[in-house]
């Protein structure tokens, strides 16, 4: 069997039901194998689109996403999705073609050192040096991508090696002596944590994307409800705890709610689960949650005490640990009344600082209202995929996510252009769900070519452009921190998105009136096939509240 056909067998053995890619010279053998392999391949229009689609698929389904590209420019076009998957811990296997082994190192046509370029941004990578290594490398790649802290794994295959004739035997077990992620949390530490929580008077649970990755939302929710703890999530953790539950404080961090940030600031014990104390969460680190002790649950030991020293570290799988923590906590029969004052304080914050904005007095659509209208039109039940900018923060604030994997966005890298292809990937993974992309007039143009992919393959994503004519988030910073000097953020009204949608074979809409917006959105969602809706919103609206750069979380503005 040809090595390229063995690649197909490996993909099937790994249960891959779709791959996203674009062929070229160096992966012609692999594409020849795709011809009759019976694997669903989606031909994207740009490799970055393919990479983000694989991420969107992975985030929506919890399965490993797969993206293919050729050597040189194909591979370098994957750099952004690889970095994105690294920072958000997304399990994706990237398979690139490479020039023939006799050309390696000679600056051959379309040669780039893909391994070297991507080394700092992968969880692991393989350069195939002998065709017989290929099946094992593939299975190891899937294992590494999905286990422990998930992440991107790259396999670079020289063209001639994929033409080699090898026998294929399924690899059933991988052996990676240097890679043994911890799954079970240390029992003593779990008991310690339960005790600390049972004694805490002002506890907060702070959950991140790790809860989503570990499929631990149910366990987190059970535990938080049983303990009566207030819960906040990071941008990546939204949906890990129901956004309509009374114990929900809202998102925390730079554009989180005051209640969530104040609660962190006033807490005596913070239980971090699958979260990494990023600078967008802590604000000024030296003034972050100064009264608190920290329990830190994470599958990656390197996250423990990286930014904030943990008093009780627990390394392992969040789902496993939270289930045990609940048992231990219950056994202590803690007295819930110890938190009464704390909850009273939280209620005061909530009453005093609800999320809000000043609505327009005419028919103008406020950007926040667009999200509220989308929430209403979808009954809160859509998969929302966001791009990067103000619209992302408003979507995170105003769409209340009750379930995991309903909120997909680029958090760590903040990649404009993520939204449309990721929505496409999510829709392919969840064909029966309504998948809506919320994007900006800037972000959408960074991967808009994937509308053609959606149209050709009948991938019915509904894209809503929150069109403010600006690189809005940058404009906001220039307004607030750089004396209103708007330097190169005004994009005018180019292109005409409705015409563009039609040219791509999608349905185009333009919405300008808030009074009909909910109905308009419903109609757009009911339209078959991909939809691109240009929603004109207030041009200069700021995302609030906000922890100003370098400020302490308690000094939120707006």
């Amino acid at each position: 069997m040809r090595a390229a056909d063995a690649v197909m067998e490996c993909l099937k053995a790994e249960g891959v039901d779709v791959v996203f890619g674009l062929p070229g010279g160096a992966n012609l053998p692999t594409y020849d194998a795709f011809y009759d392999a019976g694997i669903h391949h989606v031909l994207v229009r740009h490799e970055a689109g393919g990479g983000h689609a694989a991420e969107g698929y992975a985030k929506a389904t919890g399965k490993v996403g797969v993206a293919f590209a050729t050597s040189g420019p194909g591979a370098t076009n994957l750099v952004t999705p690889i970095a994105d998957a690294m920072l958000d811990s997304v399990p994706v296997v990237f398979i690139t073609g490479q020039v023939r082994t006799d050309l390696l190192g000679t600056d051959g046509f379309q040669e780039a050192d893909t391994m070297g370029i991507t080394m700092p941004i992968v969880k692991h990578s393989f350069m195939i040096q002998h065709p017989l290594e290929l099946p094992r490398a593939l299975h190891e790649a899937f294992h590494i991508a999905r286990s422990g802290r998930p992440g991107p794994v790259l396999i670079d295959i020289p063209q001639d090696l994929s033409r080699a004739d090898i026998g294929y035997e399924p690899v059933t077990e991988v052996s990676l002596p240097g890679y043994q992620p911890t799954f079970e949390g240390n029992h003593k530490q779990i008991r310690q944590a339960a005790k600390a929580l049972a004694a805490a008077k002002r506890p907060v649970i702070y959950a991140g994307g790790g809860v989503i990755n570990a499929n631990a939302s149910a366990e987190l929710t059970d535990f938080a409800i049983a303990g009566g703890f207030p819960v906040t999530c990071t941008l990546m953790g939204l949906g890990g705890f129901p956004g309509t539950n009374p114990q929900w404080l809202g998102m925390l961090g730079m554009h989180g709610t005051r209640t969530a940030n104040y609660a962190m600031d006033g807490a005596d014990l913070i239980c971090a689960v699958g979260a990494r104390f990023d600078d967008r969460i802590t604000g000024k680190l030296s003034e972050f949650a100064q009264q608190a002790k920290f329990i830190h649950i994470d599958v990656d030991p390197a996250e423990i005490s990286k930014n904030v020293p943990a008093h009780i570290p627990i390394v392992g799988d969040a789902r496993n640990i939270l289930a045990k923590l609940l048992v231990e906590y219950r056994e202590l029969e803690p007295d819930a009344s110890r938190m009464e004052d704390w909850w009273a304080q939280i209620e005061r914050w909530r009453a005093e600082y609800p999320l809000g904005y000043e609505d327009s007095t005419d028919s103008e659509i406020k950007p926040q209202y667009l999200i509220q209208a989308l929430y209403e039109a979808t009954g809160g039940d859509a998969v929302i995929v966001s791009d990067v900018g103000q619209h992302q923060m408003w979507a995170a604030q105003y769409y209340h996510f009750d379930k995991p994997r309903r909120w997909i966005n680029s958090g760590g890298l903040g990649t404009m252009g993520f939204g449309l292809p990721a929505a496409m990937g999510a829709q392919v993974g969840l064909p029966d769900q309504v998948v809506c992309a919320i994007t900006g007039d800037g972000s959408i143009q960074m991967n808009i070519q994937e509308l053609a992919t959606c149209a050709q393959n009948e991938i019915p994503v509904k894209v809503f452009i929150m069109n403010n004519g600006y690189l809005g988030m940058v404009r906001q910073w220039q307004e607030l921190f750089w004396d209103h000097r708007y330097s190169h953020v005004d994009m005018g009204q180019f292109p005409d998105f409705v015409k563009l949608a039609e040219a791509y074979g999608a349905s185009g809409f333009r919405f300008v009136d808030k009074n009909t917006l909910v109905e308009d959105i419903r109609a757009a969602i009911a339209t078959p096939g991909p939809v691109l809706a240009d929603v004109r919103v207030t041009r200069e609206e700021n995302t609030y509240p906000m922890i100003a750069p370098g400020a302490a979380a308690r000094d939120m503005v707006g």
Binding site: M119, K123, P177, G178, I304, F481, G550, A551
Partner: protein, 185 residues
């Protein structure tokens, strides 16, 4: 301090102070890795990316052909070293890491000194060489090459001594280290 992301000017002193926070005692890390291409690049890249400076680095085979040992010394405060070893552990090809305790470790480095040492100064230099248990491995009328083995400090000391005699060049291997006693490094 110029706050991140704001237009406040950031002085060079502030930048330097932020970097200066990281220095501390010397650490010797003994790392067992899978003997594969690219592993050293991964390790070197990790250090560069996380802002750590490798002071010395040696790589060599072990008794197991599949496994190589990297010994490297780093200057760092205790906490970031902990971060570095944790990050190193995340590399799939890294099998084992020991942050060797200076007291529980024997360490050696080999250095070669090329020194001009012409005329009567030469015999004086050779006396020093003997005191340091060095060996002359090459000599011409205009130069000698002396080999010294020992701990880093000893080699530093010999350098001091040799300098006035017309030091032409020094080549050092970097430190290797082994845990004392029966246990494996």
């Amino acid at each position: 301090m110029g706050e991140p992301g704001t237009k406040e000017l950031l002085s060079l002193e502030e930048l330097n102070a932020a970097v200066g926070l990281r220095t501390g005692r010397k650490h010797v890390l003994s790392i067992l890795v899978e003997n594969r291409p690219g592993v050293l690049t991964r390790i070197a890249g990790l250090f560069a990316r996380r802002g750590f400076n490798i002071e010395t680095l040696t790589v060599g085979p072990t008794q197991d052909a599949q496994v190589a040992r990297i010994t490297l010394t780093v200057d760092g405060a205790l906490h970031p070293i902990d971060q570095v070893t944790k990050q190193l552990h995340k590399l799939i090809n890294v099998l084992k890491i020991r942050d060797l305790e200076p007291n529980g470790t024997v360490s050696r480095e080999l250095a070669m000194f090329k020194i001009a040492a012409e005329g009567p100064a030469r015999s004086e230099l050779l006396e020093f060489c003997e005191i340091f248990r060095g060996r002359v491995v090459d000599a011409t009328r205009r130069s000698v090459v002396i080999e010294i083995t020992g701990e880093e400090e000893k080699i530093n000391a010999f350098e001091e001594v040799a300098r006035p005699y017309g030091l032409i060049e020094i080549i050092r291997t970097g430190e290797i280290a082994m845990a004392r006693g029966r246990s494996e490094t």
